[in-house]
């Protein structure tokens, strides 16, 4: 098999060459510096860095709360997509547009706004404090910020699939005597599950790397509300390049695994659809 199938269109070489060079210079070469610095530091030093109690605590906070935020977005994102596709209500188009706000709003703005809202003299924070729940400067605050940044992903993955869902499947289930709940569990939900998983993984990946919105609301208390990206920054500020790259390598590996999983998921789901199309 040749590298490229022939085409009468011109410009493959310059376009491909530029794409690869640009990607190499802006993304791959800089990213390789993390591998390089980690290798220079040696595996033993790396292991010491990433198993330090404070770093382990930060990993627990980052992974645990990102997962929780993605779960929350899984449930409410699914619900939102369902409501936006299936029901009619006043202001529906506005709500649909607002779902994208976390994509467009700078994270620093989201961070200070959520902090003001959920701190004890804020609108929601005061009310919650009366109930004995503190959000700002606790893990709950981090959860709120991570939920905000991941909010659009599940909605935007599930929504188009739900829109395209054929009525026939549900009608057939109903005509065969299935109740609404049965039709949902056995027919509708399984068809939406890949999209839901995709949205969940995207929200999880986004939350893992998030920095701007979290650092304001978390209070950054060591062992309790410090996220892994913050530790990278503080290592860097102490000129501890090896330490920063060790933590960064763990985070990068996690994003790689997620990205790979997503690609496999999408490939597996595309295949039957393509087979049917052909």
């Amino acid at each position: 098999m040749r590298f490229r199938r022939s085409s009468i269109l011109p410009g493959f070489r310059p376009a491909f060459g530029f794409t690869i060079t640009y990607l190499g210079l802006i993304v791959l070469l800089p990213l390789s510096s993390i591998l390089f610095n980690s290798a220079t530091a040696g595996p033993r030093h790396m292991w010491e860095v990433v198993t330090h109690p404070r770093v382990l605590a930060a990993f627990r906070v980052s992974f645990g709360l990102s997962f929780a935020a993605a779960m929350l977005n899984g449930v409410f994102g699914f619900l939102l997509a369902w409501v936006l596709v299936r029901y009619e209500f006043a202001g529906k188009r506005l709500v649909d547009a607002l779902v994208d706000l976390p994509f467009a709003l700078p994270t620093a703005v989201a961070g200070i706004s959520l902090t003001a809202l959920y701190s004890e003299n804020g609108w929601l924070g005061g009310w919650l404090a009366a109930l004995g729940v503190r959000v700002a400067y606790t893990p709950l605050g981090i959860l709120a910020a991570l939920t905000f940044v991941g909010l659009p992903f599940v909605v935007r993955s599930v929504q188009p699939v739900l829109e395209d869902l054929e009525q026939e499947a549900e009608e057939a289930a109903a005509s065969l005597g299935a109740s609404r709940g049965q039709a949902f569990r056995r027919v509708v939900f399984p068809l939406l599950r890949p999209a839901l998983l995709t949205g969940f993984a995207l929200a999880f990946a986004r939350a893992l790397g998030e920095y701007g919105s979290v650092i304001f609301i978390s209070g950054n208390i060591p062992m309790r509300t410090e996220i892994a990206p913050l530790l990278i920054v503080s290592r860097l500020e102490q000129y501890d390049y090896a330490g920063a790259s060790a933590i960064a390598l763990v985070m990068l590996s996690a994003s790689f695994v997620l990205l790979l999983g997503l690609n496999l998921l999408q490939r597996r789901n595309r295949r039957p659809a393509e087979a049917v199309a052909k």
Binding site: I26, V83, A97, S113, M251
Partner: protein, 286 residues
Amino acid sequence: MSASPSRRDPAILQWSLTAAALTFVGLFVVLPLITVFAEALSRGWPAYWAAVREPDARSAIRLTLLTAGIAVPLNVVFGLAAAWAVARFEFRGKSVLTTLIELPLAVSPVVAGLVFVFVFGAGGWLGPWLAAKNLQVIYAVPGIALATTFVTLPYVARELIPLMQAQGTEEEEAALVLGAGGWRVFFRITLPNIKWGLLYGVILCTARAVGEFGAVSVVSGHIRGETNTLPLHIEILYNEYRFAAAFAAASLLTLLALVTLAVKRSLDWKLGALAREAPARRTGEA
């Protein structure tokens, strides 16, 4: 379009699910949005104007626009080249290439900044060489522009690639057969066909470039009046407990985000209409 009976949920279920979904949007989207403007105006309009027009804010706005002005055009050229290569030709390793293009979306912004410190910083690969030439990248504008370019790299390409794949190559091939040159085909056929998708990508890319915080924060050094972008300016004001001023600056970025959403919506509608039209046109021709 009226839903068939089997798809219509009972009113009480509809009502409660809608209420739950709207409460979620209210808590996480609407209230934070209102908070920005309420806090920004908490000291009145004169204080708001003063905060927006102070010299540090103005220089932050200038640097933010300059950064976006560098990163966005670069990524537009990249997006066009990548889309031409990926959507117009078949080659081995294409899925690897598209995955690599999306990679910056999966990398933490902090890591995106970190890698440029590793390359250009004082203790980095090119550090000694840059110092000898008296050039500064990190804690200066080039570093900020580079980190922003990294973070916003995928936005144009990932809009253009699926769009050009869906449009197919017939029109361009026809133009070539009729004797048009490569650039002529690109400017007369390709570009007009993808203009809305391109605009969409540019809007998303710009929004991200203007608002980027983590990556820029790592490489900027936070030098007031020199290397502070608008998001970093907000952080400084906030940490100095000048909340109203911080929110005033934040309100500018929020307004920009709202404009972005509005434009995105109208383009969604437009692209949706075009997508519905395209297959109809093609079957009409056949």
